[in-house]
């Protein structure tokens, strides 16, 4: 009988200790940024869906859509946390089509601002080091003299019964676009902290400047055209929660 009483008392003590000490001992939390790709209001489905072109009667199919997110910083309560080696290739051809960046051990108690860039900073852009997702021997690299494609979109344009390939590879140092998002999140309240972003592919062609795909089936090394699309993609990402 005595043993039972001792056991019960011990259990209660442990429980109380866990309940009270828990929040104080809670270590750094992990944060996830998720990116869902859409085209206008519709989910992005590779190869299958035909999307209306922003100008003109033609429609287009997407075979590839990727972009670099870099230098993620999380801010809150006057503190700023810079994610180390922060070069992330967002691609949406995985099993559930969602791209997720997991950031373990964020030493913040709250997050009120998230900043990152679309693209790669000048120092990393022409470096041949493999840092984060940067890989100079990858599909996102041109060559070390030119650097990386920041945003890549490829597909097919259907005008009547005519099919044309469309290729948009946008890079160059000057086309990095810094973004900032306001948030309001207490990190101590839950174990997993997910920030859900949406990337709208249509904004590449239909934001600051509307682009007629039939007239501009490809933008690669033309500096003026590349900047126009960069100014467009500056507003393609939004925070949904």
């Amino acid at each position: 009988m005595k043993h039972v009483i001792i056991s019960v008392v011990l259990c209660i003590a442990v429980l109380v200790a866990v309940i009270f000490a828990g929040p104080h001992f809670a270590g750094p939390k992990s944060v996830s940024l998720t990116f869902k790709a859409v085209v206008g209001g519709d989910p992005l489905v590779f190869e299958a869906s035909l999307y209306p072109s922003p100008s003109g009667d033609d429609r287009f199919k997407v075979s590839a859509f990727r972009f670099f997110i870099s230098n993620i910083q999380l801010e809150g309560d006057g503190e700023r946390f810079s994610v180390p080696n922060s070069y992330h290739l967002a691609r949406f051809d995985g099993p559930n089509g969602l791209y997720t960046i997991n950031i373990p051990e964020v030493p913040l108690t709250e997050i009120d601002r998230i900043t990152f860039s679309i693209g790669v900073d000048a120092a990393a852009n022409t470096s041949i080091e493999s840092v984060g997702d940067l890989d100079p021997n990858s599909r996102m690299a041109w060559n070390w003299e030119v650097g990386y494609k920041f945003v890549l979109m490829e597909g097919t344009l259907q005008s009547g019964d005519q099919l044309q390939p469309i290729v948009y590879h946008i890079g160059f140092d000057e086309n990095i676009r810094p973004l900032a998002f306001s948030a309001e999140r207490d990190l101590s309240s839950s174990e997993t902290n997910i920030f859900a972003f949406e990337a709208d592919l249509l904004k590449l062609f239909n934001s600051n400047t509307q682009i007629n795909l039939a007239k501009k089936t490809s933008v690669v090394f033309d500096k003026v055209d590349a900047r126009i699309i960069a100014d467009n993609y500056a507003s393609m990402i939004s925070l949904k929660n």
């Binding site: 691609r91 041949i128 493999s130 890989d135 041109w142 490829e154 290729v167």
Partner: protein, 379 residues
């Protein structure tokens, strides 16, 4: 009390059993010195990151065993053919044929692939990517009835009969096993690094390219863009700038490069993924030593590099899955009704070919570490 003798007997049996087992354990595991990690493995950093499976580290013992197995005709059912028959070092480990000839004289479905720098590039092996690791890949040609037609259990018996093999297997992996064969061959193949071509010397800043080679390099590295007056051979859209292999991320190293139209399109990567958009997609090979690895493509349809370049220049075939990058890459204003290709000039094509010749690595083709070890022992 009556049970005691039986109990004693059982205990005795158990003790003897444990002792015997333990003895075997001590002999095979504890008394076996650790294999020697390969100390001077230092591939160029511009090839990028590479992964070696944690359960099969690069060791001297594994390499030596793998090298012997690679050159040993015991690996075929007829004992007449080794891996090296279709992967000849002087040809960058290909065989110079469109289709290889197996141990019974039959022809393989695909052209023999060059073996170099396989630590980089696509993480799937064979032209259609049907093996997702080297360890999985290396056993398939041994068992394939057209290729080496060997029963793996019989092979183990044959190898166990050779004392030198017992020792090599024991030193590398503890025992003769199918798993050890796969791991040893994989280690040998992983060590086949070609990084001493003229292009490598150029990248290291030790030499310059000729004017023609340099023009070829620039064309190799550029996606053509008429609106920016940039001419390009578009090679870089599929071949990494340094290792020249296909890309390693996901399935980026597989694509349909416009060899066939819809009517004759082969299965390709669709065999693995079941996805119709992968029909006709094959592995992008490394271009290292490409001048000695002809004939070209998965079916060896092109005899010369000139033939390959003409394909990309003017003969791209339409199909539902052909890469839009290949369709779109054109050095003239795109006319959707015209034939598809790069439309480079003859001298530009010759420049690209000259650059491709700078990828030949003579020291790799004759490196004694990768050669047949049987001239001196075991036979």
């Amino acid at each position: 009390m009556t049970k005691s003798p039986l109990l004693v007997l059982l205990l005795l049996v158990a003790v003897v059993g444990v002792a015997a087992g333990g003895g075997y354990f001590v002999q095979t595991t504890l008394l076996r010195p650790d294999p020697t990690p390969i100390a001077d493995f230092d591939p160029p950093s511009f090839f990028g990151r590479y992964n070696i499976p944690p359960d099969n580290p690069l060791t001297e013992e594994a390499f030596e065993l793998g090298r012997h197995l690679f050159y040993d005709p015991r690996l075929s059912g007829t004992n007449e053919m080794s891996c090296a028959d279709c992967h000849r070092q002087e040809l960058a480990f290909t065989d110079g044929l469109a289709f290889s000839v197996g141990t019974h004289g039959g022809k393989t479905k695909f052209s023999s692939m060059s073996l170099s720098n396989l630590l980089w590039g696509p993480g799937r092996f064979f032209w259609d990517g049907r093996a997702d690791s080297l360890e999985q890949q290396v056993l398939q040609p041994i068992e394939d009835p057209i290729e080496m037609d060997q029963d793996l259990d019989l092979l183990l018996i044959e190898l166990e009969e050779v004392e030198a093999y017992q020792e090599m297997f024991r030193a590398a992996y503890g025992e003769v096993s199918t798993d050890a064969i796969a791991k040893a061959l994989s280690t040998f193949i992983r060590m086949l690094v070609s990084a001493d071509s003229k292009y490598d010397a150029f990248l290291r800043g030790e030499t310059t390219l000729t004017e023609t080679e340099e023009l070829g390099r620039k064309l190799f590295m550029a996606h053509p863009d008429v609106s920016a007056s940039l001419r390009g051979g578009n090679c870089i859209d599929c071949h990494g700038q340094f290792h020249t292999a296909g890309f390693s991320d996901g399935l980026d190293g597989f694509l349909n490069n416009g060899l066939d139209g819809d009517d004759t399109l082969k299965t390709g990567l669709m065999l693995v993924t079941g996805d119709p958009k992968h029909k006709g997609a094959f592995k992008t090979p490394s271009l290292r030593n490409i001048a000695v690895t002809g004939p070209y493509m998965h079916d060896g349809r092109f005899e010369t590099l000139g033939d390959v370049l003409r394909h990309y220049n003017q003969d791209i075939q339409h199909s539902a899955t052909v890469s839009p990058l290949i369709l779109q890459a054109d050095n003239t204003t795109i006319d959707p009704t015209a034939s598809f290709g790069l439309n480079l000039t003859e001298s530009e094509l010759q420049s690209i070919e000259a650059f491709l010749h700078t990828l030949t690595d003579e020291s790799f083709l004759s490196d004694p570490r990768f050669s047949n070890p049987f001239s001196t022992d075991l036979q």
